[in-house]
């Protein structure tokens, strides 16, 4: 039976790992390669590296981090941040990524999903969508929460699904860093719009939050604060979920 996944998220800025709240107020949370090493020892199901720094130095640090992590983390690595072309995808895959997360450029150029999927397979294209609940509806944001987009959540998901996105990484800006739980209504909506796997992100503060997201149909629960700021780790998360009857990886 296919298992549900727990994915620690490592946000990168200038080669350091950071964590913020509502996509601002970032604080330093350490060295990403050391963190990856620890998550590997704790047998996380997958790791997501997301670079929020668009500078040239930041890009280089991202490649170095992924390359270093790939040398000792023997699990799937999802990497994103500033991906604009098939060549960007290729470079990330060559540095050790197994999947590439694309977000902002999919508003202006959704066909990048099809180009990437055709070249490298649908399984390695993950579409990232950042969402805020505003005026009774879901507002999509690009550029790390700085630019609003006019397309609706439903139209964007359906369009990317048709173009061949392998998975959807749904991040709630409202819940980001709050540790108050995922936006379950948002996740339910996303799950109802596509049969592709939904990765929940934004708001996990305890293991029950992970269980809630996975029980409503998300395939994977991504989290950062939960593991950064407490005595929690993927091993304990898995045993909690297993006791709840949720299928998780045995290792």
């Amino acid at each position: 039976m296919l298992k549900k996944r727990i994915i620690p998220v490592l946000l990168l800025r200038n080669g350091r790992m950071v964590k913020g709240k509502h996509f601002t107020d970032y604080r330093d949370t350490g060295d990403p390669v050391s963190a990856a090493r620890i998550y590997n020892a704790q047998k996380a199901d997958e790791l997501a590296f997301i670079d929020i720094d668009a500078s040239q130095e930041g890009r280089k640090a991202l490649f170095d981090t992924v390359e270093a992590a790939a040398k000792e983390c023997f699990m799937p690595l999802t990497v994103g941040g500033g991906v604009q072309s098939v060549d960007d995808i290729r470079q990330l895959l060559n540095s050790g990524a197994d999947k590439v997360l694309i977000n902002t450029s999919l508003y202006g150029r959704p066909e990048l999903v099809a180009e990437g999927a055709q070249r490298f397979g649908t399984q390695c294209i993950v579409a990232g969508i950042d969402v805020r609940f505003e005026q009774g509806g879901y507002q999509l944001y690009a550029n790390c929460g700085k630019r609003t987009e006019s397309i609706s959540l439903a139209d964007h998901i359906r369009r990317l699904d048709t173009l061949g996105a392998g998975e959807f990484f749904i991040n709630s800006i409202d819940r980001d860093g709050t540790m108050e739980g995922y936006d379950d209504d948002l996740l339910r909506t996303a799950v109802s719009l596509t049969r592709r796997p939904i990765i929940a992100c934004g708001g996990a503060g305890n293991f029950q939050h992970l269980a809630d997201a996975l029980e409503l149909g998300a395939h994977a629960a991504a989290c950062a604060s939960l593991f950064h700021f407490g005595d929690n780790n993927p091993i304990r998360a898995r045993s909690f979920l297993k006791n709840k009857g949720i299928p998780v990886k045995a290792c």
Binding site: M1, L2, K3, R5, N40, K43, D45, A70, K71, E72, F74, M75, P76, L93, N94, G96, D98, F120, G121, T122, Q123, G166, E167, R195, R196, P197, H219, K249, A250, C251
Partner: protein
């Protein structure tokens, strides 16, 4: 020395990285005449069957790999590399394979609860014992990512099966000195490294 066939299909470095982590010397190679110089050979790969066979053909690897397989030394195919051991592939059009373990590779049968590709952690049900699974914990999960699967002509060549939704498919094949894994041992943490370590110490006999 372990040879990793470099034929332009996907990220070969993760296989190389996992072998160095385990302390085994390996080398990526792209010259077919070198094949016979290795004690063990790994055929990795990600991508489509037809273009992979075309790459092997163009590089002159088809005969080299068949000769190597007949030498009795260990050969391991991973994911697409496992598929290429078969007689025939259908991705995207019918294509002859290396024909080292007789069988056919086709798209996984669809069922309502099956979404392709099959991506994530899943377990193996062994049909028999094998030196590569020595010390492997029963019931543990391995990392899969694929849409096509291998059906062997001889039932005894199917070493493990895996269940996805209602579908049961062959997740490892083995015959004599040849083994193929549908999952990625190099991405399956301790469980996967254990199988790679067994391969690196295996003499090819069963």
């Amino acid at each position: 020395m372990i040879g990793i066939v470099d034929y332009g299909m996907g990220n070969l470095h993760s296989v190389y990285n996992s072998l160095s982590y385990l302390g085994f010397e390996s080398r990526l190679f792209s010259a077919p005449e070198e094949t016979r110089s290795f004690d063990r050979v790994i055929l990795p790969g990600v991508g489509a069957y037809a273009s992979a066979m075309e790459n092997l053909q163009t590089a002159g690897f088809v005969e080299a790999l068949r000769d190597y397989a007949a030498s009795g030394r260990p050969l391991l195919g991973i994911c697409l590399g496992m598929h290429l051991l078969s007689s025939l592939g259908t991705e995207p059009e019918p294509t002859e394979g290396l024909d080292i373990i007789k069988g056919k590779v086709d798209i996984m049968p669809a069922s309502p609860d099956v979404q392709l590709p099959h991506v994530g952690w899943n377990s193996l049900d062994p049909t028999r014992t094998h030196p590569l699974f020595k010390g492997a914990r029963p019931g543990v999960d391995y990392y899969f990512v694929h849409s096509y699967c291998y059906t062997t002509e001889r039932q005894e060549d199917a070493l493990t099966t895996t269940t996805y939704g209602e579908t049961v498919f062959t997740s490892s094949v083995a015959r004599d000195n040849i083994v193929g894994f549908q999952f990625h041992p190099e991405k399956s943490q301790a469980a996967g490294l254990r199988l790679l370590e067994n391969f690196c110490m295996w003499d090819g006999s069963c």
